[in-house]
Amino acid sequence: MRKILCIISLLVFISCQKDLKTKDIISDLKVTPNVVDADGSSLVSVSVVLNDRAATDKRNVVFTTTGGNWIDGKNGKITVTATYQDGEILAKANLTAPASAGIITITAASESTTLNGDYNLSATVTANKVEPTVIKLEPSSFGIGANFTTEDTLVAKITGLNNNNASKGVTVLFEDLNGNNPAGGRFRAVQATSGAGSTVSAIYGAPALSIGTPITIRVTVLDKNSVKTTISDATTLTINK
């Protein structure tokens, strides 16, 4: 009788569901590259392997990120259907790097929810700051009316060493010069700090100057102490009426 009870106990024991682990659902989260320029445009390739017995209607994988943007994603989240590739059921997504430096966390999880817990995989990507090396200013027009009768939109693109966008947060200074002296015009709607697009902008109105007077518009990148650096660009507007 004791043996029978032991056998039944053993059967009860072995009939227990084994503890579910994340690798039983998804595994092998790959992020390539895991170090990227924080230029807002570099691509990060993300893939994860789904359990090879996953049902066809249970193959959606949700990728989330704390930085950058999923291509075709929304709000830092994208749902991808895994497909059978090279003997594995793979879910893939592409992420554009953030414009800000820092460490971003990418998470993959099965869309099929479980009642007993969340089973997801995470990986990090280091986004390195892209220092500005070049700034290029583009006016909306090279002619401008005197005495603030017209305005010119000025946009400056800041790029890094590899001609990619510089990380956001670069601060610039807009100046107008009539010869070596300030021209006395006015800048409005100044966006002096670069955003995700790595651009700065301002709208400029010229003062009462005679027609044909050249006005030099200069934009200079400031360092963290708001001191002008050598990175700058300039363009000349001419009073045309």
């Binding site: 029978i4 059967l11 009860v12 009939s15 227990c16 017995r53 249970k58 479980t114 007993n116």
Partner: protein
């Protein structure tokens, strides 16, 4: 009434109802032993044919009725386990105990002393284990032929005859069972037999052979016979027996006549009776008594005509002779009967008659039905679901039970004895006697469930059935509880896997024998018509 008393009464009532409904039989107490009242079946075996109408059951008390069998002189009935060796049926020897040559007695059978008929033997058997071969050895004292051989052997030994070894061989051969080579003659050499003869049988022979040892000796003297002879010569009547005394004197056969070797009226053609021809000697004595009686009556008549003192004297002598002849006749009768009894009741001088028996199934169908049974029952499978909660899944199932030994479904556990000595050093070893054992109840059960699962997390293993494999315990003959492993399919707790995988879970079940189910169905069906 206390709670205990009430419980006991309910239990008793329930037991009685179940007993009446299902078993329709009487409970017999196995502890009562091997007695007629325990017998559940009578097996009739015709020794003349020889064949039996029914098979010998196993695990069941039974009475063996042997027809056309000599029931005389039976001293003991033993049962020996038999086996087949090199195509021969032999008795099993207990090699472990060193009994290489002597078969071990399994048990002693009790016989009914009330003989139904003089040629019918009733034997009460305890339950026998299945698949056993055995021999029923009926041990009896020496019967006619062997008794004559033993008498001849005794005489040869008594007379130091060279024929003694031949007689011994003849006796040895006469008491052995040819088929089984089972010898019951314990004095299995002539030397041993002579020893036995010396202290047990020789005194009878000494007494019976020598007339001088007879209690009535001495008999008539020569003087008495001369008186008679002279008397007859004085009569002028012709007397038919008048020559008798003269011839006895002349031939010196007085003692031979009184010992019964010769009749009084012997002549030259009369062959003397042998010393152990007790019947012949008694006949001779009867004849002599008749002769003497005739002489007495004739002489008595003659005296009434011619009375002489000598004739009176003769009458007394003849009267005395008749008394002695009668005493000798009685003596020989008594002593020879005592000798015969001594030989026939001697436990060293026995002969054997063997009846073959066995509990092996005669055909594969019977054998199969003793091993395999079909059940119908309800199983409850236990399992942990995907949320790790225990779920009980009741299922109807049918299954086959494979017993580890043949079982007799009609045997009640209570009727199988317990407490037989396991390994007795001496005496019967009860090796073929069935004892109550767990193996009469345990079986391997293989079953299949029917129907689907209401709980969608579970599914059948194959083709709408779940496989059950377990160990079963039979009780009340027709019922069984079984516990074991169920093979079915279960949903995974992995959210991405929707296939139900095979797993093994425990189950317990309660079932009834198909035969019983069929019987219940037969009873119930008419009620619905």
């Amino acid at each position: 009434m206390t709670v205990t008393q009430l419980t006991n009464r309910i239990r008793l009532l329930a037991g009685s109802v179940v007993g009446i409904l299902l078993f329709n039989g009487n409970y017999a107490n196995a502890q009562q032993g091997q007695q007629g009242q325990n017998s559940e079946l009578i097996v009739t075996y015709d020794f003349a044919t020889p064949e039996s109408k029914t098979e010998i059951p196993f695990d069941k008390y039974f009475t063996l009725q042997i027809l056309h069998f000599n029931t005389e002189q039976i001293q003991e009935i033993r049962v020996y386990e038999a086996m087949f060796y090199n195509g021969r049926r032999i008795l099993k020897r207990d090699v472990k105990k060193g009994n290489i040559n002597t078969p071990v007695i399994d048990f002693i059978v009790e016989k009914d002393e009330r003989k139904v008929k003089h040629d019918t033997l009733l034997l009460y058997f305890p339950p026998i284990k299945p698949d056993k071969e055995f021999e029923i050895a009926v041990i009896r004292g020496l019967t006619k032929n062997n008794l004559v051989t033993a008498m001849n052997l005794n005489e040869a030994i008594f007379n130091n005859s060279p024929d003694a070894p031949d007689y011994f061989k003849q006796l040895h051969k006469g008491v052995i069972d040819d088929a089984l080579n089972l010898i019951v003659l314990k004095t299995n050499s002539l030397a041993l037999y002579k020893d036995k003869f010396k202290y047990k049988f020789e005194p009878y022979y000494k007494k019976l052979k020598a007339p001088a040892n007879f209690p009535s000796a001495p008999f008539l003297s020569i003087g008495d016979l001369n008186v008679m002879n002279e008397g007859f010569t004085q009569t002028d009547m012709k007397f038919k027996w008048g020559h008798i005394p003269a011839r006895l004197i002349n031939d010196d056969k007085i003692d031979d006549m009184f010992a019964g070797y010769l009749p009084a009226d012997y002549d030259s053609a009369t062959k003397p009776a042998g010393a152990i021809d007790f019947k012949g000697r008694v006949n001779n004595l009867s004849k002599s008594i008749a002769s003497m009686d005739t002489i007495y009556r004739y002489l008595n008549t003659y005296i009434s005509i011619n009375d002489k003192p000598a004739f009176r004297c003769m009458l007394l002598i003849i009267e005395n002779a008749i008394k002695r002849l009668r005493a000798n006749k009685e003596f020989i009768n008594t002593e020879s009967t005592a000798l015969t009894n001594a030989i026939q009741t001697d436990t060293d001088l026995e002969e054997i008659e063997v009846v073959v028996g066995g509990t092996k199934a005669k055909d594969i169908k019977t054998q199969g039905s003793n091993i395999f049974t079909l059940d119908l029952g309800l199983a409850t499978i236990g399992s942990w679901n995907s949320r790790n909660q225990f779920a009980a899944l009741p299922k109807l199932y049918y299954g086959v039970n494979i017993y580890f030994r043949p079982i007799n479904k009609n045997t009640r556990r209570e009727n199988i004895p317990t407490g037989l000595p396991a390994n007795p050093i001496e005496g019967p070893d009860y090796n073929i006697v069935a004892q109550r054992s767990i193996w009469q109840h345990l079986s391997l059960t293989i079953g299949l469930t029917t129907g689907g699962y209401r709980n969608t997390e579970f599914d059948n293993l194959y083709n709408n059935t779940t496989l059950l494999i377990g160990g079963g315990y039979r009780f009340y003959r027709a019922f069984k509880v079984t516990a074991g492993a169920a093979f079915l399919r279960r949903a995974s707790n992995n959210p991405v896997i929707t296939d139900k995988g095979v797993f093994v879970g425990p189950f317990v079940s309660f079932s009834a024998d198909i035969d019983l189910v069929q019987t219940i169905k037969d009873i119930i069906n008419p009620l619905w018509k």
